[in-house]
Amino acid sequence: MRNKTSMIQRYLNLLVKLRIFVVAGISILTIFLFFNMNKPLLHDDVKLWLDGSQEYNRILHERHPKSIITQLRMPYKGSIKDIKMLQELHLSMQNSESILQVVSPFSHLSANMLDDGEESEMLSISTLLDVSSKDAKEYIDENMEYFKFFLEDEKISFFIVSKDTLDLENLPIKAELIHSNVTTGFYDDLILIGILLAIVFILFAIAFKTTLSSLMALLFIIPTTVITVSLFTYISPNAYAHVSILLIALTVSLMDFIYIYYKWHLFQKKHAPVEALLRSFATTLRPIFWTSVISVFGLGSLIFSDSLILNSIGLNIILSSLSGFVLSFTWLLALLSFTKTKNPFSVTEKSSHYFAIKEVHFHSTLLNVFLVTTALTFIFNVYHFYTEPVTIAANEKSKIVKLALKTDELKNADLVYLEKLHSEIGCEFGSAISTKSLYSEIAKIAEAENLPFNALTSDLEHFTFMLDLYGGSSNMINNGFTSIEIFLQKDSVQKSKIIQWLRDFDNGERLLITDTDSLLNAAKFDSVNVMFYVVAFVILLITLIVWVMTLDLRFAVIAIIVNVTPISWFFLFVKLLDVALSTEILVAMIIAVALASDATVHFIHHYHFHRKRNHTAQMALERSFLYVGTPLGLGNSILGLVFLLMMLVSIDTIALIGLYSAILVGLSLLTDLFVLPVLFVKMILHEKGHV
C-alpha cells in the first residue's frame, strides 16, 4: 500500500514538474485536431443503420437498388381542374430520370374491353393518366373506397420512389414533403456543442459556487471530446460520426471529471492544494480504472457487431473511455495543480449525515417489497422479450412497404408464391393492409377478360404480354425481379410487425425488402438483440469486477441489482406505454448503463474501503455519501438537466435521446442514492467484525 502511494506520489511530482509541457502539448494537439475536424456529425442515422445489416446486405448481394419513398401531400378539392393539374404533375414526374416510380391514384391500372361493334373487341389496360380529367374524376368519385389510401382531409398523396433523396422544391403545385432526410452542417453541430457546453458551465458554477469548476469542466470535456471524435474519424475514415458519439463522449468525460474535481475541492478543506490533489488522485485512480475497463471491454464489445452504427458506438465508447482515463490523470491533474479553491465547502455534508442515518434505519419490509416488485418487473420484461416480437419505431408517415421477388424468368411457380403471399398476409392483417403485385394485376386482367384464372396453370405469357403492351409491367418486372407493394391502410397497423411477418414468411429465400424505411426497420429489429446481450454482458462484467475488487459475493449481487433496477423499470414503462424501440432509446440505455456502472463501482469501492478500516456501517455510508454520493448526484443531475434541455433542440434524434436519457439518468440516480446504500446496510451491516 505504501509502495503504491509512493508510486502515485512520484508520478504526481513528475507530472507537476512537467505540467507546462503536458498542458501545452495537449492544448496544441486539441487545437490541431479541432481545426482538422471538417466532417459534420451525422444526425440522420439511416446510412449507419443500413450498412452491415442483414436485409441490406441481401439486396447488395442480389444487386437490387434500394429505393427511397417520399410522400408528397397536396391540397385536393376533387375538381376537374385539380385532377388535370395532378395528371400533368404525375406525367412530368414519371418522365423524370431521377424518379423510378410514382404511386398515386393515377397509377391505378384498370382493365376494360374495347369494343367496335360486331367481331371487333380486345382487352385494354389503362391508368387514370390515359383518360380525360373528367373521366378520371368520375372514376375516383365512384371508387372512393379504393382510393382512400391516397385521399385524406382534402389532401391527396403521391408516393415518389427514387434511388436518391429528391429535390422536389420547384413543383408547380404547393406541396408538403412528408419525409425528407435531416441535413445539418458543421455550423449546426458547433451550435449544438456550444449549447451543451454553456449548460454545463452554468450548472457547475451553480453547484460549486465558483466559476473555476465550470472552467475546469469545460477545459476537460473539450479536449476529451475532440480527441475522441478525431480518433474515431482517423480509425474509421469512411464511417460517419453519429451525433450520439458526441453525447456519449460528453457523458463519460463529465463523470470522470466530477469525481476527481469534487474530491480535490473537498480535500482542500483540511489539506494544501497539492496534498488534496494527491489524495484525490489516489482515491479515484482505482475506481476510474475499473469503470474504464467496464466501458472498454463491456460496452466496447459492440464493435464486434456487424451493424455499422452499433460498431461505431462501441468504438466510440472505447475511445472516449481511454481518452477520458488518460486525460484525467495527465491533463486534468496538471491543470488542477495550477489552481486552488478559496473557502471550499460541501453543500451536502449535513444531508449526507441525514441520509446515512435515515438509510441505516430504513425499514427492511419496504426494501423487500421494492426488490420483489423489481424482480417481477425484470421477469415480465424478459418474458416479453422472448415471447413477443419487439416493436421497432418506424417512420409513422411511411405507409408503403416495397418488396422484390427474385424471378430469373417469370414462371407460374412465382405466381403461386405471390398467391400464397396475398392469401396469408390477408388472413394475418385483414383490411389493415392491401397488397399489389403481379398476381393481383393478372387476376384483374383475367377478370376483365372473363378468363378462368389459376396461378399454377394460366398462360403467363399472355398476361405479361398484355401488361407489357400497356406499360403495366414496367414498374413490376425489372431485371429478374418482380416488385410487390404493401399499402398500410390503417394507422393502427404496426409496420415492424408486417416486416417481421414477411421475413418469417419467406425465411430469407427470395423476398427482398427494397425501400429504405423498411430496410431500416429490419436493421433496427436485428440490432435489438445485440444491444440487450451487450447490456447483459456489461452487467455480468460489473459483477465480476466488483467481486475482484471486494472478494465478496454480496457486493457482486448488489451490483447486479443496482444495474438491473433502472433498466427494468424503464422498459416496464416502455412496454406499458407501448413505446416502440428506437435508436434513441438504445443510445439512452447505453448512456444509462455507463452511468450506473460508474456509480456502482465508485460507491462500492468507498463503502468497502471504509468498512475495511473498521468504520461502522453508518460512518462508512456517511463517507460514501459525502465523497461519492455528492459527485454522483451532482454529475447525474447536471447530465439529466443537459439531456432535458436537449429536448429543446429542433433535431428529432437529439431531442429524443435527451428525453429518454434524462428519464434513465433520473432512475439511475434514484437507485444509486436510495437503493444501493440501503442494500449495503441491510446485506452487510450485521457482519461480525469487519468486511
Binding site: D115, E119, S120, E449, L451, D459, H462, S474
Partner: protein, 155 residues
C-alpha cells in the same frame, strides 16, 4: 325479358374468350408456317401472331399501343401481323394495297396509328397471299379482330 337479358349475358361471357377451332399445337404450327405472309413489327425473341383489319378501330388501338410502347415492345416481341378483312369494314382493297407496297410496316403505321387516308389500289382478283391468310383464319377460327395468338392459344 329477364331471361332474354340472362341469355344475352351468357352468350357474351361465352364469346368473351376467343373461339379456337384447332388445338394449341396445331394452331401454333399453322401460324408459324404462315410467318412468310405476315408483316413483322419488332425483332424480339417472343413471337406474337395477330389477325387485324386496318380499318377496325380496335385493331387500330392495338397497333397504336404497340407503337406507343415501341421501345419496350419491339426489342422483346416480334409481332406477326396477318391482315384479314372484317366484312363490314370493306378493307379488302386496302389490305392488298398494303401488301403490295414497298414498306408495308410504314403503311400500317400511317393508316392505323396516324389515321391517314391513303389511296386504295382496287384489285379485282384477290392475290395469293390474302387467300392463304383467309384459309388460315378460317381453319383456326378467327372470328374477331384483333385475334391474337400467343403460344398457339388465341385471345
Amino acid at each position: 325479358m329477364k331471361y332474354l337479358v340472362l341469355i344475352i349475358l351468357l352468350q357474351l361471357s361465352l364469346f368473351a374468350e376467343a373461339r379456337q377451332l384447332l388445338d394449341v399445337n396445331e394452331t401454333r404450327h399453322l401460324v408459324e408456317f404462315a410467318e412468310g405472309d405476315a408483316i413483322i413489327l419488332g425483332s424480339g425473341k417472343k413471337k406474337i401472331y395477330a389477325f387485324i383489319d386496318p380499318y377496325c378501330k380496335v385493331s387500330q388501338a392495338y397497333i397504336k399501343s404497340l407503337y406507343k410502347s415501341e421501345k419496350r415492345m419491339f426489342p422483346k416481341y416480334s409481332t406477326y401481323l396477318f391482315l384479314f378483312e372484317l366484312p363490314r369494314k370493306h378493307s379488302a382493297d386496302m389490305i392488298s394495297t398494303i401488301y403490295k407496297s414497298k414498306n408495308p410496316q410504314q403503311m400500317i403505321k400511317s393508316i392505323m396509328v396516324n389515321g391517314k387516308k391513303l389511296p386504295e389500289i382496287p384489285t379485282k382478283q384477290t392475290d395469293a397471299k390474302v387467300q392463304r391468310i383467309y384459309k388460315l383464319a378460317k381453319k383456326i377460327g378467327v372470328h374477331k379482330r384483333p385475334y391474337i395468338v400467343i403460344n398457339g392459344k388465341a385471345y
